[in-house]
Assembly symmetry: D2
Amino acid sequence: MIPRYTPKEFAELWSDATRFAIWLEVELAACEAMESAGLVPAGTAATLRDKQLTLDSSRILAIEETTRHDVIAFLTHVEELAGSPARWLHRGMTSSDVLDTSLAILLVRASDSLITRLDGLVEALAKRAREHARTPMIGRSHGIHAEPTTFGVALAGHLAEIKRGRLRLQRAREEIAVGKIAGAVGTYAHLSPEIEERALARLGLRPETVSTQVVARDRHAAFFSALASVAAGIERLATNVRHWQRTEVGEAEERFSAGQKGSSAMPHKRNPILSENLCGLARVVRAAVLPALENVALWHERDISHSSVERMLAPDATATLAFMLDRARSLVEGLVVYPARLKENLDRTGELFYSEAVMIALVGKGLPRQRAYEMVQRNAMQVFHGNGVFRTLLGQDPDIGAQLTPAELDECFDLEHALRFADELVARAIAS
Amino acid sequence: MIPRYTPKEFAELWSDATRFAIWLEVELAACEAMESAGLVPAGTAATLRDKQLTLDSSRILAIEETTRHDVIAFLTHVEELAGSPARWLHRGMTSSDVLDTSLAILLVRASDSLITRLDGLVEALAKRAREHARTPMIGRSHGIHAEPTTFGVALAGHLAEIKRGRLRLQRAREEIAVGKIAGAVGTYAHLSPEIEERALARLGLRPETVSTQVVARDRHAAFFSALASVAAGIERLATNVRHWQRTEVGEAEERFSAGQKGSSAMPHKRNPILSENLCGLARVVRAAVLPALENVALWHERDISHSSVERMLAPDATATLAFMLDRARSLVEGLVVYPARLKENLDRTGELFYSEAVMIALVGKGLPRQRAYEMVQRNAMQVFHGNGVFRTLLGQDPDIGAQLTPAELDECFDLEHALRFADELVARAIAS
Amino acid sequence: MIPRYTPKEFAELWSDATRFAIWLEVELAACEAMESAGLVPAGTAATLRDKQLTLDSSRILAIEETTRHDVIAFLTHVEELAGSPARWLHRGMTSSDVLDTSLAILLVRASDSLITRLDGLVEALAKRAREHARTPMIGRSHGIHAEPTTFGVALAGHLAEIKRGRLRLQRAREEIAVGKIAGAVGTYAHLSPEIEERALARLGLRPETVSTQVVARDRHAAFFSALASVAAGIERLATNVRHWQRTEVGEAEERFSAGQKGSSAMPHKRNPILSENLCGLARVVRAAVLPALENVALWHERDISHSSVERMLAPDATATLAFMLDRARSLVEGLVVYPARLKENLDRTGELFYSEAVMIALVGKGLPRQRAYEMVQRNAMQVFHGNGVFRTLLGQDPDIGAQLTPAELDECFDLEHALRFADELVARAIAS
Amino acid sequence: MIPRYTPKEFAELWSDATRFAIWLEVELAACEAMESAGLVPAGTAATLRDKQLTLDSSRILAIEETTRHDVIAFLTHVEELAGSPARWLHRGMTSSDVLDTSLAILLVRASDSLITRLDGLVEALAKRAREHARTPMIGRSHGIHAEPTTFGVALAGHLAEIKRGRLRLQRAREEIAVGKIAGAVGTYAHLSPEIEERALARLGLRPETVSTQVVARDRHAAFFSALASVAAGIERLATNVRHWQRTEVGEAEERFSAGQKGSSAMPHKRNPILSENLCGLARVVRAAVLPALENVALWHERDISHSSVERMLAPDATATLAFMLDRARSLVEGLVVYPARLKENLDRTGELFYSEAVMIALVGKGLPRQRAYEMVQRNAMQVFHGNGVFRTLLGQDPDIGAQLTPAELDECFDLEHALRFADELVARAIAS
């Protein structure tokens, strides 16, 4: 999580202050649940809440220098501030009851914020897809011109993919919205399932089915996988922007702000740096998945090897993805599309992309498929080497003339027909 | 996919023969749908089906040597075998219409087979968890004795985790059960959404929302992530078996078959090699996730970089996970548990694990938490260094005696109480 | 290791037959060393060699079904074939003495074969780099035209990178050329360092400095990292071929063989599928690095979790890289370069790439850098938007005219000057 | 790079202030080299140095808000501070000339600091290995007791591995000590190889063989791989400490500082948290390798996708490894070893580990290996099941008695003999 790639909201979310504040929320929620169960004097949590404690993060960290234990340092500090009633906090609990429940709250908040950002990107993509639903573009496979599509259909594909990422993140949020207040090895030795359920409900969480000392880490691994999946969707979009913007293609480009400079050496450069940046950041988000999966196999009822990984990668991966989503939305919103250039590129291969229509027409006349393929290919190769116009050559080929009338050939060369489902595809993505 | 780690079913699933047979199924389903749309003469598919073609994989591969294109080689071979009606196959389709739809069928079949195996593992875990729901075991965090739990609760935790993996795999199966018959760049230039839907329905698939030349690869990435998640759950189980079996712990061990030899050098060795093997294989399955994520960002309407990755990793990851599931189930079924050793280990730390109960009792008497902690810890440390019995030392500590009567102290030393929720936890995992 | 991506040599290298043959070599080398030390009757190895045993892999695998231990199965089979003298084999050794020493031999052979292939690629790159050392090409950053370079310089960059990969692989080969014959936990309990050294020397290996039951796995991790590094270099080359070949660029393309078909639907397509394939395979090779790194932290004097990883990934990664190297070499050798198209693209941006030369000339006249930048950029932007010719506009700009004479401006527009170091760069790569 | 895991030195190394200061160093070194070549007025760099500019990082970042280009922002600020002579800076250079050369300097400094830390760990391991060269310990494979080794030999294995990591890091340092001052696409359009070489030499760097706009990223990938390799070595060490410390083993433990608390719930706990932490951090360092490898395949003469990855992962991976090395050294220095417990564990399996010696003796008498194996195993299994003492049972076995005299049997039970090479192994690691 470096400032450059961290939205302010995430810098706050992952701050010491927020973390300690949430720890306190968790302790108080547990305390209240224990009051209901008669384990703690009624009103303890209310008394503590009334004190409106202002936790001092630096003091907690200083205490930790000695105790080498973060939750004990925190509790010591709370007792410093709140005095005697604080001794009821954490009764029968283990550190992970606080830490894992708090982590769940943080990840839920992160998820909600990410989903809001995803919605922004979805909206931007939908708008631009609709706008360009009928803007013809040459479709490319292997970087080679294939058959026509539209710019809007291309965006619709990205839209549908991003929405699938949203669904995965939504499900991961549900999986991660799980805490535990079950004691040292998850057996409720000094607690009960009822206390746990009541405390977690107040915090918007459900109880882990069977915890050890911690919430099971397969949930977190699934969460990081979902983040990486969204990032990969953005990477595909950004990769395509980079292709569209390259000098020879020039079909679309990132908005270039006033004052922006493309190069310290070359004043004329306008580079797709936002998109390249998104591709790099996708690698970073993706890289969190394997450590998260390695974190699953903790020893016995837990070891703490997962903790350092999560301390580093949970902020990094969520904040970076948030940054990516913001950047991707503004990229899409500001994307400058050049329909004239799209048309120019479409025309570049001399309508070779109608070759399949011709081949189908020939097969429809009864020719074996491979024979039709060869008849079309030999003419296509002429065009490819700059010798003639495709429609003309086909018209002059006696083998083809023996099968198709000029009118039938003309029917094969119909852009409107080729793109007749473009609106439907865009609508499908929006409805998905 | 090496023979050693490949169930027979998966060797067949990923064979050339199966692949080509499914390609034919896809072509015929598409052909039938085109018949309904009037694009192909009625009865074509039926005629072809009646021929009961026996595809010759080696012939197809030989043709591919020349064409350098697998689907064209396949179609050429079908035409060799079936003659003229075969020319109607593949009308308006692109190779990926066949390939991606077929891959979806293969992955769905793989998923179904994996889920069946998962159910076997779930059943085995449930059975053993119930069996040992009340078998006491020392719970360990950091490899250090913590508080008591039961062997059944430990298995229940694994059970719940494996079931979550099952849910993820089920969802991934839904995501991957998507084909496309939409032509070169997904625009249905010579096809229609109706044809696609009808053909895919016959194959048990849904249409991609918006395809390019291919089905979007975020679906496959999610699928591989789900596999890795299940593998990580097995890795945790296997890691714990390795711990339970180690000489000094000896609480459970893998069934050692007659004739099996543990070591070429040391006749007395009985090693948890199945579990170690599962840990290694989890690394292999996990390693497929990043390439799958890298596959998402194909260029424009597709490039073919994903293909080699999938050719290698789809068989590898699914077959290896299937092998893991079989092995894990038989590991769990055959696991030899030693309750006497479990008890012996539980007693090893002189009941220090009741320290928290004592601490809570002290806090209940009104002591500040940190003071209670220190009073208990100083006695615990004596025991830890071999100087005395915990219950006795506590009884002799005047500070503690000032707070707790001997009867109150006794109440803290109650194993039954500590484990009173074990059955509930096992039941929860089974019900989850 | 699937047939499609496995050179024949590697299929043989990683076969059961080769593996068992090497095991026998290792056992015999160890036996001879023990003869020298007087631990085994002199002449035992010679007697066994004279028998010219033909090992039956399927028989060994069948025995393993019962023993569940591969080396014991192997030894049992050798004893079946060779009778009484075979009992002297494996004296004081542990399975890993055979397995790890054999793995080292296999990896050394794989390395040597890879290095030979690397040399082929190096030679091809050097030849083509020399050929095109002076073929002008527009250099691109961010996919946007920057300043001129040459096609040969671009290839020279790839050449230098591949040669660095070769060096890393050479070093990794040295690191991996290490065996062990040191007994169950590496202490030579029934052996000696001298025996080990003598046996390994005969096999072309050095002894592990301090082994456990196995050779340390950091060596193997370094080996896989080196493979991935070479693969990444090929990926960069292949990525650039894909760019050069894309329809709008068209500067170079893969050789298209007679009979090859680009698309089942579009007869005119010529796709860079070899290069795309290489990009996918690089992902596969790269994915072996993390499991190899995870393999390092074996428990105590070893566990066997690394074994399954290596059984799958060592053949996969080495064979795949061998395939990549062969394919990359033939790609480079056959690459069709289009100098006319290179020139056409170079001219596409109206010589804007001379803007920096102009800026430097202006600064040389005493202008502040940022002022010079802005003077050039405003003219460049005109050209970029299609309004005029760069050289002309600059000549007409009074601010620029106040600084530079027409002759001085002309000097800035000199391609020869811009490319004057191209030959030197190519020579540097070849000499590196 | 989070404060918790970042040594102060690395926080400074990766600060904005250090980065900008190094940029200035690079610009001045280039300026001086250009003075020698007559491209810049003599004395310019000296004049600028004399000004002793104090760069204001926040001002640079503020300018970047507008320019969206970091190096231009930096140069603008330098010109603000230094006035007219600053216009000579960056002549003919591209941003990456500064950025990549500076990154090389930062990574070299990071490497040097890491190597110093490695030396500390090496020294600590050597000291403890010597100290415990003759402290017997049971060697374990698969977590199961195998044959005796010594605690010092175990440490010596770690020592040798860490030293191999050091060698790899040293080599990676050499690979990364490479800058470029070669202009927009590496052709020295407005520069020369001589200028580059002179400038880089002053900075302690060599020139990239053939650069594009940037230094080739395979160098950086190799660097990150070397970091991960060192981290994996530490992970193995830390994993073993965790095993040694677990309650049932208890052979060694981390130093527990006064005031430290093991658990918020259980006062008696002393957990190997430093080691667990090291295992987690190894996952983090390892995770940087794949993004670094993905960074290699930049498009054409460069794209900027690598930049965000390096901004995040270069500080993270180097600082985290530095932290790990410091922690590992203090872990080793403070490791509390319990020889009595080592002896107790060694004796736990009733001397079964001498079984191989007996088997060898039997084979030496002429028995077939498999027959000897079975004779020993049946007695070993008796002992394993708690029925008798190994030496005694063997003495009573008539088959064995027929082969070995009691004195010959006694010779097989000799710990001194088993450990006779321990000192040599420790010495070998230290000398390696």
